[in-house]
Symmetry: C2
Subunit: 435 residues, 2 copies
Amino acid sequence: MADTIRFGIVGFGNIGSGVVDVFTRNRAVINARVPRPLELVRLADKDLTTPRPVEVPPGVEFTDDADRVLRGDDIDIVIELVGGLSPARQFVETALRAGKHVVTANKALLADCGAELFTLAAKSDVSLLFEAAVGGGIPIIRTLQQGLTANSLTSVRGILNGTCNYILSRMAAEGSKFKDVLQDAQRLGYAEPDPTFDVEGYDTAHKIAILASLAFGQDIRFSDVFVEGITRVRADDLALAAEQGCAVKLLAIARRDAPDAPVEVRVHPVLLPRMSPLGGVDGVLNAVEVVGDAVGPIVLIGAGAGLAPTASAVLSDVMNLAQQMVDGGAPLDRRLKIPVGKRSVQPMRKIALRHCLSLSLLDRPDAQSRVRSALEAESVTVDREVIRGHREGEYLNLALFTDAAPEANVQAAINAISELDVNAEPPSVLRREEM
Amino acid sequence: MADTIRFGIVGFGNIGSGVVDVFTRNRAVINARVPRPLELVRLADKDLTTPRPVEVPPGVEFTDDADRVLRGDDIDIVIELVGGLSPARQFVETALRAGKHVVTANKALLADCGAELFTLAAKSDVSLLFEAAVGGGIPIIRTLQQGLTANSLTSVRGILNGTCNYILSRMAAEGSKFKDVLQDAQRLGYAEPDPTFDVEGYDTAHKIAILASLAFGQDIRFSDVFVEGITRVRADDLALAAEQGCAVKLLAIARRDAPDAPVEVRVHPVLLPRMSPLGGVDGVLNAVEVVGDAVGPIVLIGAGAGLAPTASAVLSDVMNLAQQMVDGGAPLDRRLKIPVGKRSVQPMRKIALRHCLSLSLLDRPDAQSRVRSALEAESVTVDREVIRGHREGEYLNLALFTDAAPEANVQAAINAISELDVNAEPPSVLRREEM
């Protein structure tokens, strides 16, 4: 065996540069905490010419031949930072088949075919670690796999996308519109030129699929997740939230009522109390709440993205693998198993949720009664009503807080209300979440 | 080797009952996550007669002979829940010498002689785990030992005592006095009949000594920690905090400016922004913020005490030991080492902090200038002044926000101000903490 544990990186973009930077900077701290020194041997990227935020360190090979990392005889651990499904999946499979441990930050890959990859890793007697795939630098995977293992978990909820949280926080602070804040966020680099993956909630959905799989021991995939992004959130929704001491957050929610009950897995904007651990998390921060039957709720908050926080998570995985390689011991990734093909997911339409309907009605005698009838027709009852504004003979602005009702009924009622000729503005609806 | 991993518990009080209860309740979940089933073999307590919250499970021996747990041939793991220094230290030493792994929730013991116990454990080739010693169910030890290992840590700050946080939260919500809330907390069971250990900050100081040791790799002990409790916090301090958008919290702080700089370790009430991850944590909850050079700030929030949360942490340690015993592998407790005798602690008087002085002065022409002179004499400068109340010819209530100044100077200035004959009420002072 070599004197060092040797690792290589495929995908030398921003995150790759972050890993190289943090490893170089903290090499002394890192190597004091592992049984044998870590050594970065090789970087691979198809693009050899674009300048990177960091230099290729002296003695490290930089190649456009990914195989030299994935199958290199002098490589023990492969870090996959290519992202996306293809060729990342082939890369990870090649490395696992070649007997390399793999560390990845690729949430899309894990949410698409994680169970297959874990099976392949087990067959090849190597590990696939992925702390950086969810929550950036927040050690949420380790917390689920090790810290809370004595619990039967009942829910995992999180603010898992920094771009969305940044946009919603600024909309709340400034009273601005989604579109305007998005443009500014793009200018500042907080949102991608094509923001779809973030603002439509897909990134968040990938992450909650992974967390739900770990928490409930089921093979929950991206395609199992109900997803609604933040593009339809209005400035007025945030104003209403503030009036109620609440915030609007894009929340990922995985929950089950009992160990044998089907799992709810959904991503959508919610109204939640401002003075709650998740309701107060603003800007690009991420936050995750895990509820266990013994421990109760545990909340973790931290940088959910960014080069150095992600590198912190990637390198903690590499360090754990170094320990495991030298001492033997159980692979972390097998402590909470994701069994292939086992899933029981509750369809969104059957989930009973509480809502807040924001209505701007024409000030006509029949307006309210017709809204009430539309709700009653779907058995949706109203718990509390707030008059937000009224101009005699012109408009009446109302917020209706409903009791819990199946999503199918609520959506049917809202569609019916939208069709009424009593609306001054189209109705808006937010699901409510208790903390 | 036996078919099961067998553990025993010394100290069958409240926490012991919690461990028995959660283990019994979640046995199926727990045993599905360890490579060989766990078996509770024996409970020991000097008191065999007082009724417990749970029954002794069938087949489990209950004895008043601690040695039958500590040295039992049929025991692999000993859980020490006796608490305090004696006989807990002898119990832990006996078990380690007998080759048993030990899990403890005993923060006092670790903050007093942790380094010696870890040395003994290493010599006996067994592990000493202690997730439950700090933060109850919050997996803060695991986070330091595994999640953030690629970082050079710069600070650990926490609300680590639920009793103090409950009292301060209620004082803030109700405008009540410390003494009144304490009495009520005792009646409700949130404070002990003798509350000294909690309200004087000793419990918090034990915990931060442990966290500082892990974070900075130094042998920081309880006796190294500057401690000031909450007994002198006034109702008006909380009112002032609220006026400033702040909260008063008993904060434990361990910080160093650079890897080779001396460590600050202190526990005292602080003024911190209400809309910050720690400033919004109310009631019996605990919260810890860890700052790493790569990851930035990470915050963990959860139940810091209570039977089931503590049991969650104790059992996660037992499960990790089970894994380690079956697979070999590196003991968790050796990943971040606490080297015996290595410490470099900054004395409190040298630490430069910002303060908030709350003064109620007689409304005399010379009052303010004499206060200013007292501050100037100690080179304490004022950054901001707020007039909180004024009655012509009677009193002038001021809040002075100072720039950072060494603690020795600030305390000398406050003593000098206290001596002046211009005070309508004795001055009060709170240290300020940025988040």
